[in-house]
Symmetry: C2
Subunit: 310 residues, 2 copies
Amino acid sequence: MDIVIVGSIALDDVKTPAGEVKNVLGGSAVYASLSASYYASPGIVGVVGRDFSGEHMRVLEAHGVVLDGLEKADGETFHWYGYYEKDMGTAFTRDTRLNVFASFAPNIPVAFRPAPFLFLANIHPELQLQVLDTMSGPEFILLDTMNLWIETKRQALLQVLKRVTMVVVNDAEARQLSGLDNLLQAARWIQGQGPRGVAVKKGEHGALICWEGEVGLLPAFPLDKVVDPTGAGDTFAGGLIGALAQKKQVNMDALKSAAVIGSIMASFTVEEFSIGRLAHLNEKEIRERYAHMRRLSEIKPLELDIIQGG
Amino acid sequence: MDIVIVGSIALDDVKTPAGEVKNVLGGSAVYASLSASYYASPGIVGVVGRDFSGEHMRVLEAHGVVLDGLEKADGETFHWYGYYEKDMGTAFTRDTRLNVFASFAPNIPVAFRPAPFLFLANIHPELQLQVLDTMSGPEFILLDTMNLWIETKRQALLQVLKRVTMVVVNDAEARQLSGLDNLLQAARWIQGQGPRGVAVKKGEHGALICWEGEVGLLPAFPLDKVVDPTGAGDTFAGGLIGALAQKKQVNMDALKSAAVIGSIMASFTVEEFSIGRLAHLNEKEIRERYAHMRRLSEIKPLELDIIQGG
């Protein structure tokens, strides 16, 4: 197993302009592990309730996701009730029932601890610190977080930042965390707290990647139609760390390539509800979207005279 | 002369978080023609008042901008009083004094009429139609417009759209014009009205380029610091049409390259007030930014195994 992923496993009720689903599989660890599974071997650490179906387990197992860190607790699985309005830019929460997730304490199986890659999906920063204390010392640690922890658990979050390799945040979170409007400045501020890298997700506008002193700018895969944006961010992070785990080296070229993989995987996720599309991809469609991304962002060498003095 | 540019020539008072200037040179035709002048030979059609200084004329002349279409009318030059707030994403207008621009009727010099490239900067669509009727039949016509005309002169604007080669709009205008939220759909809707190409400017998020059936996505040049965004859009359009006019061929690769030139020129414009930076560029700094844009958006071929069946 290459990657430990610690996060939520959820059942979701989601309504978007394209339709509505109830009780479907979701959660950061689910999206991230399925996405990563196309490139490396992930194991998840999380908790579900007695209502979590064997069918959901089998989907994850069929993708080679190692489930030894999946705790089954008395009670019901974390349930999110959300909806999106017309532009689907923002997820609105109608209700969140934490259920068994309320008392979640990550219990990392001994066999998971030497894993070289770790993705700390969005959970309480204190729990993220516990995970860091338990692991043997991963080579690459990717961190996600959210506005709630930036607001209410800033000190703990800054402690986590000191100990991770790379952070993945959306543009609003980057601005909120740094207090800076300019995204490049915000990313550099975050790097100043410890991480060598930052990926700022800008939704339909793609991603800004910073690695040490270098910068990369990547478009999002252009889609005509989005059915459900739920899980896009976690799918991005999972694809990114999955690609890096296979590559086993991190530099700007590898990171950009991994972030393109993340974007493509997210582009599949949003085309159906839940994991409807993400769980059923083939090599050809992934390679086609990667090639399409290369083509549409390729800039040819400058073949123009510049009239001196203007 | 390769490019006729029809638009405003203005004196601006601008206040931004970085400072404040009064009575500085501005206007769409000024930014666009200076930007284009590094790549081709532009001539401008516009009107100024008696207060327009000889010094401003000399700046334009020094860049080879042909001024035979610059009318000097009785009265004062168009004056814009604007400001930007913290994130500088939106220009706010404190006052607009149209002055001599209120009765502007583009008078295209006979020598300008056979020019192969035409940029219709943002003016009343009825005036844009008059320009189209007067020109001999340019090979490539680039159109800009604004929310005001989309709202109040929609029918005339749709007539213009039928007759131009390419449209440059910002994301809000593309959505407003098409009634569609998805930018790719919005761009395709605009293409459906006549133009072969559309460039949607997304500010700090770069540009979406559509040319016939193809799509390109380009980042904006990443800047740590913006002094004054005024003129960025016109500088982009001027660089784009300037590069195309030199290249003398239009296809997706040439367009993307030209749009990168446009972005770079805009990145210089916003680093100082007015044309403080745009009027004083050298070949080396342009080539450096172009190379930087290529580097940061380059995506290497996919060198990963995709685990079949996920």
